[in-house]
Amino acid sequence: MITLAVFVFFAVLALAAAVLVVVQKNAMHSVLYLAFAVLSTSGLFFTLGAEYLGAIQILVYAGGIVVLYIFVIVIVNLTEIVPERRPLLAKIVLVAVPVGTGIEVAYLFLAKGFPVEARPGGGPGFRALAETLFGSYLLPFELASVLLLAVLVGAIVVARKKNLHDPD
């Protein structure tokens, strides 16, 4: 019961923050609300029994990505506010379509019922997670680390000031 209430609390928070992220004119404000959204999501994870993931969420998303965004905005001096000029019709379509789609899919789910029945076994416990991660998913895990390395190198390469002897 309490879980449900907390879930709903966090859900509403997440949704509100998400909307605000998208709507804000100022990029800095968007980042702030992004942080809110991410933290709310983390709370959701906790209520859903994925404690490890919730923690990772706070560490990586809120602590890493959001901070990254703040740094980027500061470094590039994003003071300029890009005028969001778009034809009204386009804006309506562009909003209606995804939202409508989402509602439609949601309705489908609700009407037809979830196709898969629940299986008992509790949530994704920490121990089970660890076992599966380093068991079945070892290869993807290693690959992910290689990926991170590549990203590290790549980001530096791409973002570098173009030097004279750079063949680009």
């Binding site: 562009l94 379509v97 995804p98 789609t101 439609e104 899919v105 489908l108």
Partner: protein, 665 residues
Amino acid sequence: MFVLIPLFPLVGAAVNGLLGVRFFSRRAVGATAVGAAGLGFAAAVASFAGLLRAADPVSVRTLFTWIPASLVRTASGGLASLRFDMAFRYDSLAAVMTLVVTGVGLLIHIYSLGYMAHDKSYARFFSYLNLFTAAMLVLVLGANLGIMFIGWEGVGLCSYLLIGFWFSKDSAANAGRKAFITNRVGDFGFLLGTGLLVYALGTLDIGGIAAAVEAGTLAKGTATAAALLLFLGATGKSAQIPLYTWLPDAMEGPTPVSALIHAATMVTAGVYMVARLHTLFSFSGTALTVVALTGAFTAVTAATMGLVQTDIKRVLAYSTISQIGFMFIGLGVGAYAAGIFHLMTHAFFKSLLFLAAGSVIHALSGEQDMRRMGGLRTRIPRTYRAFLVGALAISGIPGLSGFFSKDEILGAAFASGNYLVWSLGLAGAAMTAFYMFRLICLTFEGEARFTGGASGHVHESPPAMLVPLEILAVLAIAGGYVGLPRLLGGGAWFGRFLEPSVGRHELHLPVGTEVLLMALAAGVAVAGIVAARAIYVRRKGEPARRFAARFPALYGLVSKKYYVDEAYEKIFVGGVLALGRIADWVDRRVVDGFVDGVARALRGISSGAMAFDEGVVDGAVDGVGKAHLAVSSGLRRLQTGRIYNYALAVVLGVVLVITIAVTVF
């Protein structure tokens, strides 16, 4: 034997024509020509002798069959076989004709030796002359209308060749053409008449035609039509109304030609033809009347034209037309023998007159205009005497041949009751005497009017020319005695001789009337002579001039030959030219217009096809390309380059797939 008669001149013509023109000397050419003519004459005499001795008055010899028998359906419904044989017929009429043609022809050949001595186409002339003789003989010896027509055309051709002998002279060439074409019109009539007879009787043979007419198998109407058509041919050949206009112009030819062809022989072919077909003509009374009237009117009209001519040869030409009119009068009243008699005497004195005129012209070095002659009596006496004989003969002075023949004709005309014809004939006789002596007076009497070039050289002609002249003069005097009428003590042997060929014609006139007629004829002749002498010698032509001045229109009319030539030119020549112009117009407008129209239509079609090709076909091809471009430029707007557009598309697609998947499954 008689078949040989035309052969000699034919060979002579061939030899002279093919070899003589290139290789022979003048002597050789002359010898060949005269020799051929002489041999022809000898054959004619021999044949004549044979006829006198023979029992059969007619002999027919067939050389070969040219077109074998083919069956034709005659008008009467029966079947007759039409054969065309190379057949020759000899009887008394043929005898007379051959003797005249070869005899007079021989004399003229001899004369030509002298007359044409200086001409550069000597051999050509004699070749043509021989050829003509051969053709004329074929004509008179033909046993059927086909052979006769061959000769008929042959003499027409030779006439053309000889009239236009000096072809470099425009007037001569034109005259030759005029003669041939006018003759052609007549020939057309001849052919139509022949065709009609073939259709009606199925035969061309002269004997056959005569037999059919006597047997009564020929309808009167058909006979008349055929006879009239044949007579049309005769008017062309014999220069009667309406086809006489060529003869005066034919004087462009050398004088011997005028003498032979246009006096003695070719122009008498028409007379011969009518006499030959006498049964046909007698059967159709209408045709005979037409013949007589034509002859009478021609005789008078031509005589009036002869009164005002200034060229010596032209006077003689009109005189010929007039005299042939007389012959047709004789034929037309049924006195065939009389007509042939006059043919013979006319041959003698007319050729004499022409040859004598030639002698005059030769003496004056080519002068032919009588107004520039005169006073020649003392300078060329032999020519003068010959000329005088001829003039007396033609005028019908008693004692000479012309009197007998002319009188017989006029007597027959009177006896037949055709007084119009008789009176016209009498008038013609009077005018004949007048114009002939006008000619004599102007040419020989009075003062010399000829100009310098001629006056120095006035000389008599060479013997080659004078001897034939004098022989003809004898004939002109004596030739008539073979037909001396019973009245005057003769036996009318000529008429009797011709009986088997041309039938019998008895003159039933009281003796007194006959004598009266004779006296009348002689009287008008003498009157004419005296009048001419009075006007032209005594008064030097003054009265004539005053007459002409007082009646200028009349004088103009007659001297312009009644404008007949001009009328013919306008009507016939102009008509043909107009037809030609119409044909040209049709060709240009209609035919060319049609052709151009087709071309235009084709061009239109092709440009239509091109338009179709360009418009539709190319349009379709281009259209595909253009549609493609349109679609692609429409589609290209999807490629906005904006990420969100693509993202949107992706999401929509995915959602679509999911929806389908979920709903379907």
